[in-house]
């Protein structure tokens, strides 16, 4: 298998993908959902419903408030109870639309059949508009509205669409299961995205710890290409299992051998990156009129008795997922929404899932406990691990000293918060904790300077 990978840094944590054999199953509907108005990057959406309204599955309940924003649809049928602040998984209050679930009645315009629609419409603008109306956002983590990413700045051309199937975070398997179970839809989604962007090439990049997925997608792409010229230029590229291969900048480096300059966008080097699940959501929105109302969530952890990959409606309380699988295990000390490297620790299990929720991971104290901090032994392992070529040991010292000028000079703003430095430090120094703060301060300074 090809030994392609990104060129700087990276680490090899144990991949822990113990839920890889669990097929995606639908979680039974909860009694109530709380659909957050802010579950994408950008402005929170404006509600379109009021208390007492009856809604159906797939009905828009909030519209974009600004260019970078997204539609939000009801994930259930029932009665709107109100629009009220609810605590998110960190405990911060976010406005949510509360809906009491009654039955499961879908909008008639949604095609719920399993028939695969492989025809790719000519009209790129039409595809983007359907994606916008479908409320599709990037499901790789950042939840950036997809239609905005597809609206290229004037003068820019997309040479390569990259479909990110790396799933480099340990434990997570929802992208893998999606590739295996919805491979055809993902490939059609890729072709739709390629058409929308006017790109000649598309690469579906998959880490080589998922050989079944690589074979499966390769076979589908081969079949599609033979039948329909719209599928020409789509390739599957196996990548070395190395974290963070699925980072946007690292992926572009690995696939195209190009690097996005500091502060730049992928499109500057002719690339657009979309996640596997986003491609599926694009298929649903364009071919099936089905907006983004559910997503697959990996529920896992060695201490969790029942691993699963569940199809969960947006707005389902995390507790409903946990209770369905038998509750929180005794040994669990930390619950993480997302993967162990970049996921967020859950402080509130009553928080609702968002469009971008991809995993729920249970770790024991032993697995997650940080060791006591000791002196830096100058081994340089953090600098070797940093996929951005930064020197975390130096940034940490500068951050402690509050030296903003030197932090900017040493590119603290380029940090992608992947966690490789903190993971790898033998002295248990909380490198990223401080660099993360320094990074946002430096970014603030750069923005303020640009505004002048």
């Amino acid at each position: 298998m090809a030994r392609r990978t990104f060129s700087i840094g990276g680490i090899h944590p144990a991949d822990g993908k113990i839920s890889r054999e669990c097929a995606i199953k639908a979680l039974p509907l909860p009694a109530t959902v709380h659909i957050a108005l802010s579950q994408h990057l950008g402005a929170p959406a404006k509600p379109l419903v009021a208390a007492g309204d009856k809604v159906k599955v797939g009905q828009p309940i909030a519209e974009p408030a600004g260019f970078v924003s997204a539609f939000i649809h009801s994930s259930v049928s029932g009665t709107v109870k109100g629009i009220l602040p609810c605590q998110d998984l960190s405990g911060n209050r976010q406005n949510c639309i509360e809906i009491a679930v009654e039955g499961d009645e879908w909008l008639e315009t949604i095609d719920r059949s399993d028939t695969l629609v492989t025809d790719i419409p000519e009209d790129a603008k039409g595809i983007v508009e359907k994606i916008r109306l479908g409320g599709v956002v990037g499901l790789g983590g950042a939840t950036f509205p997809t239609h905005v990413k597809l609206s290229l700045p004037p003068g820019k051309k997309c040479e390569m669409l990259i479909i990110n199937g790396c799933e480099c975070e340990p434990y997570l398997t929802s992208d893998f299961r999606t590739l295996l179970e919805k491979g055809e839809q993902v490939v059609v989604g890729a072709a739709l995205l390629k058409q929308a962007l006017g790109a000649d090439q598309a690469t579906i990049a998959i880490e080589d710890n998922k050989p079944e997925a690589i074979d499966h997608i390769q076979r589908i792409v081969g079949q599609m290409r033979a039948k329909n010229p719209k599928y020409a230029g789509i390739e599957v590229l196996p990548l070395v299992k190395k974290y963070p291969a699925g980072g946007e900048k690292q992926l572009i480096d690995a696939v195209m051998r190009r690097q996005v300059r500091s502060g730049g966008l992928p499109i500057d080097v002719g690339a657009v990156v979309q996640n596997v699940c986003t491609a599926l959501a694009v298929y649903d929105a364009v071919q099936k009129n089905k907006p983004l109302i559910d997503n697959s969530v990996t529920v896992t952890g060695e201490c969790f008795p029942k691993q699963a990959n569940l199809l969960v409606r947006v707005g389902t309380p995390l507790r409903a997922i946990v209770d369905y699988l038998g509750g929180i295990p005794e040994e669990a000390a930390k619950i993480i929404s997302g993967g162990p490297m970049m996921g967020k620790a859950v402080a509130n299990l009553d928080a609702p899932t968002l469009k971008g929720t991809g995993g729920l991971l249970f770790l024991t104290n032993k697995q997650t406990k940080r060791m006591p901090e000791s002196h830096c032994i100058r081994c340089g392992k953090c600098a070797d691990a940093c996929p951005m070529g930064l020197e975390p040991f130096l940034l940490y010292r500068l951050a402690k000293a509050g030296n903003m000028e030197a932090l900017e000079e040493n590119a603290a703003q380029d940090c992608v918060q992947c966690g490789c430095c903190l993971y790898t430090c033998p002295a248990g120094i909380p490198l990223l904790d401080l660099i993360r703060q320094a990074r946002s301060q430096v970014m603030g300074i750069i923005k303020a300077r640009a505004a002048k």
Binding site: I328, K334, I336, M341, T368, G380, D414, T424, C425, G428
Partner: protein, 327 residues
């Protein structure tokens, strides 16, 4: 499960802690240590024992009672310093001289600067050089390998010392080599007198390979030292083989291997960056050869490493690794 931990990502961490890294260095030093005991007998074990115990004990006492901080001996770095110091001493060194060496290494070179990670100079080498200039008689009183169960200790000079002495008396190198019957295989396997750890090149290289496999160190510093020693001595040797020793002789005698594999690669006192490390190694190799050829000491690797240790902060400022998306 009563309470959930909430903390920033990442939520998992490597198992390769400082202690694990130091334990690997101890394991890597074992072949050289064992061979020294086999070759030089119980004296070598005594030096090793006194050195390690003194280093650990001194670090414990200093952290607990002088600095009034939690003890740091658990990180095993004092064990490494103790082993390195012992392997750099003649096996006939009296125990109290070894203790003074440990006191200087841990007390002055390491703890005065703030402990592990803060010291500018390699502690074991500071200890060794302190003893070399303070107790020259003991420090050049080499035992010739007599084996673990050998009867009488024989003392004599090291090959480097003999060559230096001989050249001063007007002999030529080919004559001296023939006179003492030095062969390269002897140098590689079972040695000709010197510090405990210099007894067997193969044992040192085995430890070095272990460190590489375990990814504790990278090979660049070591290779650049060895390369520079070979290149420098090659030039001089080709110019005048009667006055200058050949490259292979220089690589296999004295402390070059022990120094380049274990002392110059010390994390704390070597550059963090590969390019900086290569320049650091070139400096060490060149200074060592200048001392060997033109200095008054037979070997110069200890001095060379300490001199280059002083340049590390500068090398760390000069050299940075290539950043993503920046020219």
């Amino acid at each position: 499960m009563d309470k959930l931990i909430v903390s920033p990502s990442p939520h998992i961490h490597t198992k390769t802690t400082t202690r694990v890294l130091m334990r690997d260095v101890v394991i890597a030093l074992l072949p050289a240590a064992i061979v020294s005991v086999v070759f030089y007998g119980w004296d070598a074990l005594l030096v090793l024992g006194v050195s390690v115990v003194s280093c650990v004990l001194l670090e414990y006492l200093i952290t607990r009672y002088l600095l009034k901080r939690p003890s740091t001996v658990g990180d095993l770095s004092a064990v490494v310093t103790g082993m390195l110091l012992a392997l750099n001493l003649p096996t006939a060194t009296p125990w109290w001289v070894v203790f003074i060496g440990a006191l200087v290494a841990i007390g002055i070179a390491k703890m005065t600067f703030g402990g592990l990670g803060q010291n500018v100079f390699n502690p074991a080498l500071v200890g060794r050089v302190f003893l070399l200039v303070s107790f020259p008689t003991y420090m050049t009183h080499w035992e010739i390998p007599k084996g673990l169960f050998g009867v009488d200790a024989v003392t004599g000079a090291t090959p480097l010392g003999i060559i230096k002495e001989g050249l001063m008396q007007g002999s030529t190198i080919p004559d001296l080599m023939a006179q003492h019957g030095y062969t390269y295989s002897q140098m590689l396997l079972a040695n000709l007198g010197g510090s405990a750890g210099e007894a067997c090149a193969i044992a040192i290289l085995a430890g070095f390979v272990y460190l590489l496999i375990r990814k504790v160190i990278k090979p660049w510093i070591t290779l650049s030292i060895l390369g520079t020693v070979a290149a420098t001595s090659c030039i001089f040797w080709l110019a005048d083989p009667a006055r200058f020793t050949d490259p292979l002789f220089n690589l296999l005698t004295g402390g070059i291997l022990l120094g380049s594999c274990f002392m110059a690669t010390d994390y704390v006192t070597s550059p963090m960056n590969t390019k900086g490390g290569i320049l650091f190694g070139v400096g060490i190799g060149f200074i060592t050869m200048m001392i060997r050829y033109f200095g008054s000491y037979p070997d110069g690797i200890s001095f060379a490493i300490l001199i280059m240790n002083a340049t590390v902060p500068l090398l760390n400022i000069w050299f940075h690794q290539k950043k993503y998306g920046r020219a």
